[in-house]
């Protein structure tokens, strides 16, 4: 896989940074790829905008910052307005269906959405919406192998919540696979 830049955006409390961390861990520890994550440093208290930047590549990563993201995972309206213009042409946009209204959606990107919060609530904990999004990402894009991501989820979430989180991952993953059957394959 060539250098692929990923930006994850949402508001504090949604697990944006943890999502980036799990993706990076999946790629670099369980999928023998290279990953570099940069946390945006700011007032990431609950409710405010925050983002994680991640680069995944088969080759060692020299330049550590993202320049033109190929994949975006957005979980808030603010993140959509702020970040989606930066997405590379031909890139993949993944949004939380109920939290993001994709106004003025760009024609040059592939867009997929998932009601991750609703699924998370059905599973019993709204908190796991970020892991639903991760499962969805693993299904739609090729940035990380599903099993590598599952391994990373298992070791990164609080002890005792592994099963719930894996169920959340699988929910997002299955939904993504179903969606792909209906829509064209994304070239991440």
């Amino acid at each position: 896989m060539p250098r692929t830049e990923v930006k994850i955006g949402g508001f504090g409390g949604q697990g944006v940074i943890l999502s980036g961390y799990i993706l990076g861990k999946a790629a670099s520890i369980y999928d023998s790829k290279h990953a570099t994550m940069i946390q945006s440093f700011g007032p990431e208290a609950r409710g405010s905008a925050c983002s994680a930047q991640l680069i995944i590549s088969n080759e060692p990563i020299s330049y550590p910052y993202i320049v033109s993201p190929n994949v975006m995972i957005l979980m808030s309206q603010e993140a959509y307005s702020k970040f989606s213009p930066e997405l590379a042409s031909g890139g993949t946009l993944l949004t939380e269906e109920d939290l993001v209204v994709t106004r003025n959606l760009r024609k040059d990107v592939l867009h997929y959405s998932i009601p991750a919060t609703r699924f998370a609530e059905e599973l019993g904990k709204r908190l796991v919406l970020n892991i639903v999004m991760l499962g969805f990402t693993a299904a739609i894009t090729n940035i990380v192998a599903a099993d590598a991501a599952r391994n990373a989820v298992k070791v990164s979430v609080p002890k005792g919540t592994e099963e719930l989180n894996l169920a959340a991952f699988n929910k997002g993953f299955e939904y993504g696979l179903q969606l792909l059957k209906k829509e064209p394959v994304a070239a991440a």
């Binding site: 961390y21 990076g24 994550m37 440093f41 700011g42 020299s62």
Partner: protein
């Protein structure tokens, strides 16, 4: 000698540079840290504070950086490996005690996660503005060793090396990180303890009678004792003789200061460490350190793809500076290009060693982020134009 497994968190981790530095220190055997937490170095001491109780270490959150930088020296004389951690404003406050560590030959490590300055500057953003301060920040004549990591993995590996060098030469070692490397998260592989080479302090074990704590052998590094072992020792920042007692004579000053400087300068070939890539056929060599050694790579690759003969020399140990190597290269390359996240610091060293024999072009950056590769590319292109 191998690392004590107690402090070694062996395995593959996805970890930031600050935490990797903490793990490196613990693997190296550091069991005392004093600090006044400051962005962007806070995560180093956070992890130390969390992990130390489990491995028998002591962490003290001190009242300020002046106290932190002296507390570690007390710990070192108590027989423990010690470190303090800071960033620009705190680093400035520690300068006096870098000199004290130098003259008392106290092994200790100062970690500086650089942010943009001067003064409070940009607390959460990277710079490389403390490089000359690291070398010259304390008054008087002395030598230190400084290293510059470019990844979380190196924050682990080179922190161990920092401790090893500090123990071997009884000198303060400055670990010059920056915000980008400190907060960057990447894979960090921590090997099992038996694969980690550790340099232990060389202790004096001879008779107590007639013992001279600052008498050095041929390697110019005296053997150490620790307080409480029954040896008569006196540790002072005043110019002292071999017994450690103040001696206000021109002769004692000349002898002591010359040895403090020579113990590093005469061992420079062993201490200096750099990495080279494509230097043999190069017309221009890009000299980098720290995060700049990574931001320069796309620029160098682009230039080589266009047929320019560009090499890369990356400093791992920044001080002592690899004078011999730069002098030798200056005899045959057309130019050096030096990108730095400051308005010109290490470039003066390159200019000094190039001595007018080849052009030296600085690619300055005021700090707050890292270089854009295109700026470094433009400088490479420019360096090959004209004479």
């Amino acid at each position: 000698m191998h690392a004590d497994p107690t402090g070694v968190l062996a395995g593959a981790h996805f970890m930031d540079g600050d935490h990797a530095c903490s793990e490196g220190a613990m693997a190296a055997g550091c069991r005392f840290v004093a600090g006044y937490p400051i962005t962007p170095s806070t995560e180093v001491v956070e992890r130390i504070a969390e992990r130390f109780p489990y491995i028998g270490g002591i962490f003290i959150q001190m009242e300020d950086e002046i106290a932190s930088s002296i507390a570690i020296q007390g710990a070192a004389w108590g027989g423990i490996k010690a470190m303090t951690v800071t960033s620009g404003p705190g680093f400035s406050l520690m300068m006096e005690h870098i000199g004290l560590a130098a003259i008392t030959e106290t092994p200790c490590v100062f970690v500086d996660v650089q942010r943009a300055g001067p003064s409070t500057g940009l607390p959460t953003m990277p710079a490389q503005g403390d490089m000359m301060q690291a070398r010259w920040g304390s008054h008087g004549d002395y030598e230190i060793i400084a290293l510059s990591p470019n990844s979380p993995q190196e924050c682990f590996d080179l922190t161990i090396q920092a401790f090893n060098l500090s123990e071997k030469y009884r000198v303060p070692v400055l670990f010059m990180m920056d915000e980008c490397v400190g907060h960057m998260i990447e894979r960090v592989v921590i090997p099992p303890a038996e694969e980690i080479e550790i340099v232990e302090r060389r202790m004096y074990g001879g008779p107590k009678e007639g013992y001279q704590p600052f008498e050095a052998g041929r390697d110019l590094v005296p053997l150490m004792v620790k307080a409480g072992d029954g040896y008569r020792i006196h540790v002072t920042g005043l110019t002292h003789d071999e017994r450690g007692y103040p001696n206000m004579s021109v002769g004692a000053q000349a002898k002591l200061v010359q040895r403090l400087v020579d113990k590093i300068r005469l061992h420079a070939d062993e201490i200096v460490q750099f990495q080279e890539h494509d230097v043999d056929d190069a017309d221009v060599v890009v000299v980098t350190y720290g995060i700049t050694s990574r931001t320069a790579i796309p620029a160098i690759e682009q230039a080589r793809a266009k047929g320019m003969k560009v090499g890369h020399l990356r400093l791992v140990v920044v001080w002592p500076f690899p004078e011999k190597r730069i002098r030798a290269l200056a005899d045959r390359v057309k130019a050096f290009v030096v990108p730095e996240i400051n308005l010109g610091q290490m470039v003066y060293e390159v200019e000094r060693c190039a001595a007018g024999k080849s052009k030296v072009i600085l690619v300055p950056h005021g700090g707050g982020t890292v270089h854009q590769p295109k700026d470094i590319y433009t400088a490479i292109e420019k360096s090959l134009r004209g004479k």
